[in-house]
């Protein structure tokens, strides 16, 4: 999946893409549907024969070879004395029909589920390879909805609506064929009703669809009033506006109810008129059938068979309108998935490099602005981090320090004319993305824990890591103490559906996560902010030995965290404002000095009062 498929999907090609590999299942399903329909239609035929030629004494209206065969075994008299044979014929047809029905529904389900699985897997993989910027441009809820309900919509379209429609067409065709075999005029009259009922059904569903959409819309409005009331409960209470909310809700509540009741009225009318057409049809069949019977052009058995065929047809034909209306919504779902599938995945150069990563890192005249923002976040930033050294970065909110790290890790791509970032002289743009990220460890300020155990989270980036490695890393990150407090220790389930860790615990877990991996470049992106000063110092002390060989970038607000770095860079509004060692910067009397004084001023004042 990593290869970048450049092709854009259209409605049709996306649908075909998802169906790929499933064609055999659909074909089998269709064959079973055919078999099933035929068996369903044979029973009335057997009854016709029984009534006319076994109970009655007319010539059997069945294919000649069957007549010959029956005559061979002893004809009508034989069947009359072995009457159970007739029942056995129905039973056999019933069993075969059941087998077909089972096979049809099962294969249909298998095909549908295979499609769903494939679609979901493709989407998940595609989404995790989309560039980071795509996620800030699209709402999480919206993406999830596309991946869930829209996929469901397409599944329904293929495995239910299309299949039902196909089945209905088969049923109509075959039953007309069978009816024509019994008596032509009555068959034509019965067939004539089918387009009428179908047209009425399609017209009605087309007519009622806007009402349903309006109902959905009104439900949405009502639902969002509840939602707003619940999320804004503080405001409602604080302003004492319970009465207002009550009235506002009631107004929508009543309107929504009234709309539905009107809709129910229309639905009932449709239902009843559908019933009425069916009844008229049955009446015409019964009356004409009676007339034909009395005049001898139709047998009583044929009469019974006609009534059965008409009963079999009535419901599926009436459903056609509903199916077609539902199908028309699928187009929207496919478009919504096209949008996701057509977003371009992250891509590498054709000849991506994997150079050694324990080299110096150079930012050279880097400038950057986010696509959705018009302000430049970084302006002309240049500095070098020598291999194996530690660089501290101090900067306020919005100074661009995190952006620098994202550019280094290629979460965002630096445009070609906006300077360059190089590791050992190789532009990061030319380095294999996976290789680059595997070799750069970043501890985020707000790390994300996945829904798994704590141990699994810590070793997530290195599948070979054993429990000892996890324990060791946790010790260094000062997480062990917290772990001991959980009754299940490292087996504690965390993330969305598990125990919620505090911000500090999460940060420490993320540090342990990185230490397990031991990448040559380590970045701490303000990742000790939620940890108190004491623990911060403890962790740094423990880290010292571990980090000696690595190139470290340390972003922090505490001077005590930064002061031991080999070099400190002060970023302000996207520019390098100051650069040097702790001592050098103190002498400069600039921002760094100011911050230092601030952070220590209290100390001395405190000492004075103490």
């Amino acid at each position: 999946m990593k290869t970048n498929e450049k092709k854009k999907y259209t409605r049709r090609s996306l649908l075909l893409f998802f169906c790929r590999g499933n064609k055999r299942w659909w074909l089998v399903t269709v064959l079973f549907a055919l078999g099933l329909t035929i068996f369903d239609l044979i029973s009335p035929k057997i009854i016709e024969y029984t009534v006319d030629s076994v109970i009655g004494d007319k010539e059997g209206n069945i294919p000649a070879f069957l007549n010959a065969w029956i005559a061979g075994i002893g004809g009508r008299d034989y069947l009359r004395s072995h009457f159970y044979l007739v029942a056995a014929a129905i039973a056999i047809v019933a069993v075969l029909g059941a087998v077909m029905r089972y096979a049809f529904r099962l294969t249909d389900q298998i095909a549908a589920e295979k499609l769903t699985e494939r679609t979901r897997n493709t989407l998940f993989s595609h989404i995790s390879h989309l560039p980071f910027s795509w996620f800030s441009e699209n709402h999480t809820g919206d993406i999830i909805q596309r991946c869930t309900s829209d996929v469901e919509n397409i599944r329904m379209f293929l495995s239910e609506q299309l299949v039902q429609l196909f089945q209905t067409i088969l049923l109509i065709g075959l039953s007309i064929y069978f009816m024509l075999g019994i008596q032509v005029p009555l068959a034509l009259v019965s067939a004539a009703f089918i387009p009428i009922v179908m047209a009425a059904s399609i017209a009605f569903h087309g007519f009622i669809a806007p009402s349903f959409m309006k109902a959905d819309e009104m439900e949405g409005e009502l639902s969002s009033i509840v939602q707003e009331n619940l999320t804004g409960v503080r405001v409602v209470r604080a302003f004492g506006r319970e009465r207002y909310e009550k009235d506002r809700f009631e107004k929508k509540n009543a309107a929504y109810t009234a709309h539905w009741i009107r809709l129910m009225g229309k639905m009932s009318a449709f239902w009843v008129s559908g019933n009425a057409i069916s009844t008229v049809k049955t009446l015409v069949v019964v009356a004409l059938g009676t007339y034909f019977c009395v005049h001898g052009s139709l047998t009583p058995g044929g009469f019974i068979a006609f009534i059965s065929y008409n009963a079999l047809l009535s419901q599926p034909v009436r459903n056609v309108g509903r199916i077609i209306t539902q199908m028309s919504r699928t187009g929207i779902a496919i478009d919504r998935l096209c949008y996701v599938m057509n977003a371009e995945e992250e891509n590498d150069n054709n000849k991506a490099l994997t150079p050694p990563m324990d080299r110096s890192i150079t930012f050279d005249h880097v400038a950057f602005s986010y696509e959705n923002g018009n302000e430049e976040v970084l302006h002309d930033v240049s500095f070098t981090i020598p291999a194996g050294k530690t660089v501290g970065i101090l900067g306020g909110t919005g100074s661009g320090k995190s952006t620098l790290m994202y550019l280094l890790d290629r979460l965002y791509e630096l445009p070609e004319d906006q300077g360059s970032i190089e590791i050992g002289g190789v532009n990061v743009r030319d380095i294999d993305r996976t290789y680059l990220r595997k070799n750069i460890g970043i501890v985020l300020q707000e790390p994300y824990l996945f829904s798994r155990t704590l141990a699994e989270n810590i070793s997530i980036a290195d599948e070979d890591a054993d429990m000892d490695a996890v324990r060791e890393a946790s010790n260094i990150a000062s997480l062990d103490e917290a772990v001991r407090r959980f009754s299940k220790g490292y087996e504690t389930y965390v993330g969305e559906r598990g125990v919620t860790l505090s911000g500090g615990q999460k940060q420490r877990a993320a540090i342990a996560q990185m230490l397990v991996k031991k990448p040559p470049v380590m970045i701490f992106d303000d990742s000790l902010s939620a940890v108190d000063a004491e623990t911060d110092a403890k962790i740094r002390e423990a880290l010292k030995d571990k980090l000696s060989a690595a190139t470290v970038i340390l972003i922090a607000h505490r001077i005590t965290t930064l002061m031991e770095a080999d070099e400190i860079i002060v970023l302000s509004n996207g520019r390098v404002a100051e650069q040097g060692t702790h001592e050098e910067l103190l002498k400069k009397n600039g921002i760094y000095r100011k911050v230092y004084d601030m952070q220590t001023a209290g100390l001395s004042a405190g000492e004075k009062t103490a």
Binding site: S43, V51, V86, A87, A88, V93, A94, A98, Y102, R105, Q109, E113, T116, F124, I127, I144, C147, T148, L222, S224, V226, E228, L230, V235, R237, A238, F239, G240, E242, R243, Y244, N253, A254, T257, I261, M264, S268, W271, V272, N275, T282, L283, T290, C293, V294, I304, G396, T397, G398, D409, T434, R437, L444, S451, I460, A461, R558, K594, G602, G606
Partner: protein, 605 residues
């Protein structure tokens, strides 16, 4: 509280036998007449369904067999008459059923929504929005559907089966017997399968929500996924889930396919038996051809009503949960409630008796207050005393999640002290109604919450009867008039759901205007942490400075400037107040406040 819960449980046990319908009685009562009418209509419908095969058989036995058309026109007339009557009956049945459903839905939604307006904050903290939302919107509609359609299904199908059985017995008891014997067999099969399918379907739903969760994790955790380069691992795990889902779904499909095939097969086998026994009886001459055809129609047509009947019973069992959850919400008691005496004098949450309201001056005092959150087991305040005289500015500082809102919650009486008193103008807050207090407080939230509607609607939230002049004055005071003037429709502009059509900064400014519209003596401010552009930031800072002047204010502060000038600063850590004093005092103490303050300074340089 506990005692209450126990008695509620007992109640539930008692009513379990009535499928929880007894608890619903108050909601059913208004529709008693219509429900009875609906049941009668349903029974009539099943009579019609029973009659049609009889009409067809009449044609066979009276015209076709004797070979005469005499009386056919009369027959057609009767047929049409029956059809018309049935159409009318169908229409009224369906319409009344739908109407009862919708009316019930509305009543249940109204009852739950209105009750929610009286519940205290502890309820909202213990139950998340999604959970409560589905009580109001989804449980109610499930209950409404049950009462209307499921009840209808039950009546209709049960009476249909009874009519069919009686007709068969009357026609020919000997032939009816095998059909009747078939019924319990079918019932057992249907029941067993439905039980199994119910369980499997639940599994499928659970797996489905797991997959939704996976998507959510993959999307919200995308930054970690990318920096850790664990795309392949995540994909592997995801594919494990989708595979399991497919397997379970296919197993469910297998069972449901088996179920449908079996049920159809049984009805066909019933048909075979009827044809066999009935054919023999007909050949003997003891049964007419038309009667045989009636029996055949019934044998085929009986399975569906049986299926529906059993499905209805399963639905009744399944709906228990919804009824219980709904009832729990409606019977939930508020932790903070006004006494009957207070309601008598000051009015309740919905109806104010403004004529008895005293003006609020703005003196606040915590007197020996101890407090524990209803869902917590630790005291977060112990014997806390603090006098906040009229016009004093109090700043509360501390890290995110440290519990800075506790004091504010007590002042606003969102919670009540476990021990001790909060005095407002020297009187216990509980001596006056919540609505009185809340109508006198201005409140600005950290994340500005606007409601869908126009700008005017939202601002009037602060003062119901505010004139446009008053609104503009309030807007000017906090320099938010520019925001509104920029909008094409001004005060009539739509703000979108949750105010989404405006920027965060704009929402913030409007929420300031909303808070001071009623010129409250007491102001509660929860400062925003989210970064907004510098110009708006400045405007908001100025707005704060303006509005707290001369008012008693409690500010949950994140900004240095606000903190420094405050009369009293309270530093909160791990839910407790650890330091208290002015800026100078606390800086000198070099403790927690000092650390917070210096960190802030660095961030804002």
């Amino acid at each position: 509280m506990r005692k209450n819960g126990a008695s509620e449980k007992k109640n539930n046990e008692k009513t379990l036998h009535f499928f929880g319908l007894k608890e619903l009685l108050p909601f059913l009562r208004p529709y008693r007449g219509r429900l009875i009418a609906m049941i009668i209509l349903g029974i009539v419908t099943s009579v019609f369904d029973t009659v049609y095969p009889l009409l067809n058989s009449y044609a066979l036995d009276h015209f076709i067999t004797p070979g005469t058309l005499k009386g056919l026109s009369g027959f057609i007339l009767i047929y049409i008459l029956v059809a018309l009557l049935q159409a009318a009956d169908d229409y009224f049945t369906m319409y009344s059923c739908g109407k009862i459903e919708m009316d019930m839905d509305r009543d249940l939604r109204r009852a739950s929504f209105n009750h929610l307006q009286t519940l205290s904050f502890s309820y909202f903290n213990q139950n998340n929005v999604g959970y409560i939302h589905s009580r109001v919107m989804s449980d109610t509609s499930k209950i409404g559907e049950l009462v209307a359609w499921r009840m209808m299904d039950f009546v209709w199908n049960a009476s249909y089966l009874i009519f069919v059985l009686v007709t068969m017995l009357v026609m020919n008891a000997r032939l009816a017997l095998p059909v009747i014997l078939m019924m319990p067999v079918a019932a057992v099969i249907i029941f067993l399968f439905q039980k199994k399918l119910l369980r499997l379907n639940r599994q499928v739903r659970e797996l489905n929500s797991k997959i939704t969760g996976d998507f959510n994790e993959g999307i919200t955790g995308v930054r970690s996924v990318k920096t850790l380069v664990i795309e392949d691992l995540m994909q592997k795990d995801f594919e494990k889930d989708t595979k399991e889902y497919r397997r379970t779904a296919v197993r469910t499909g297998h069972n449901s396919a088996l179920f449908t095939s079996l049920v159809t097969m049984i009805s066909s086998l019933g048909l075979a038996v009827v044809l066999w026994r009935g054919g023999l009886i007909t050949m003997e001459g003891a049964l007419k051809l038309g009667e045989l055809s009636v029996f055949m129609s019934y044998a085929v047509g009986m399975m569906e009503p049986m299926e529906f009947l059993i499905a209805t019973i399963s639905a009744l069992l399944a709906i228990q949960v919804n009824i219980e959850r709904f009832m729990k919400l409606v019977h939930e008691e508020s932790d903070v409630a006004d006494t009957p005496e207070v309601v008598e004098k000051y009015g309740d949450n919905f109806h104010a008796k403004k004529e008895n309201w005293e003006p609020l001056q703005g003196d606040v005092e915590f007197k020996d207050v101890s407090f524990r959150y209803p869902d917590g087991d630790e005291m977060v305040l112990e014997h806390f005393n603090l006098k906040v005289p009229k016009g004093t500015n109090v700043a509360i500082v501390g890290e995110t999640g440290a519990g800075k809102s506790t004091l504010v919650n007590l002042v606003c009486r969102f919670y009540e002290p476990t021990e001790g008193q909060v005095l407002i103008d020297g009187r216990d807050a509980r001596e006056r109604s919540q609505l009185w207090l809340h109508s006198n407080i201005g409140y600005v939230l950290q994340t500005p919450h606007l409601f869908s509607g126009t700008v005017r609607d939202n601002l009037r939230y602060g003062k119901e009867d505010a004139t446009d002049e008053e609104i503009w004055a309030a807007l000017k005071l906090v320099s938010a008039d520019g925001v509104v003037k920029k909008l094409e429709k001004g005060l009539d502009a739509d703000v979108g759901e949750g105010g989404d059509l405006l920027s965060t900064g704009e929402k913030q400014l409007l929420s300031f205007a909303r808070a001071i519209l009623a010129d409250p003596r007491l102001l509660v401010l929860d400062e925003a942490t989210s970064s907004i552009d510098t110009m708006t930031e400045k405007a908001i800072q100025d707005a704060i400075a303006t509005v707290i002047k001369g008012r008693t204010s409690f500010i949950i502060a994140h900004r240095l400037s606000t903190v420094v000038d405050s009369d009293i600063i309270l530093a909160v850590k791990d839910g407790r107040i650890v330091e208290q004093g002015t800026h100078a005092e606390l800086m000198g103490r070099r403790g927690y406040y000092h650390e917070l303050y210096t960190r802030q300074f660095t961030e804002e340089m």
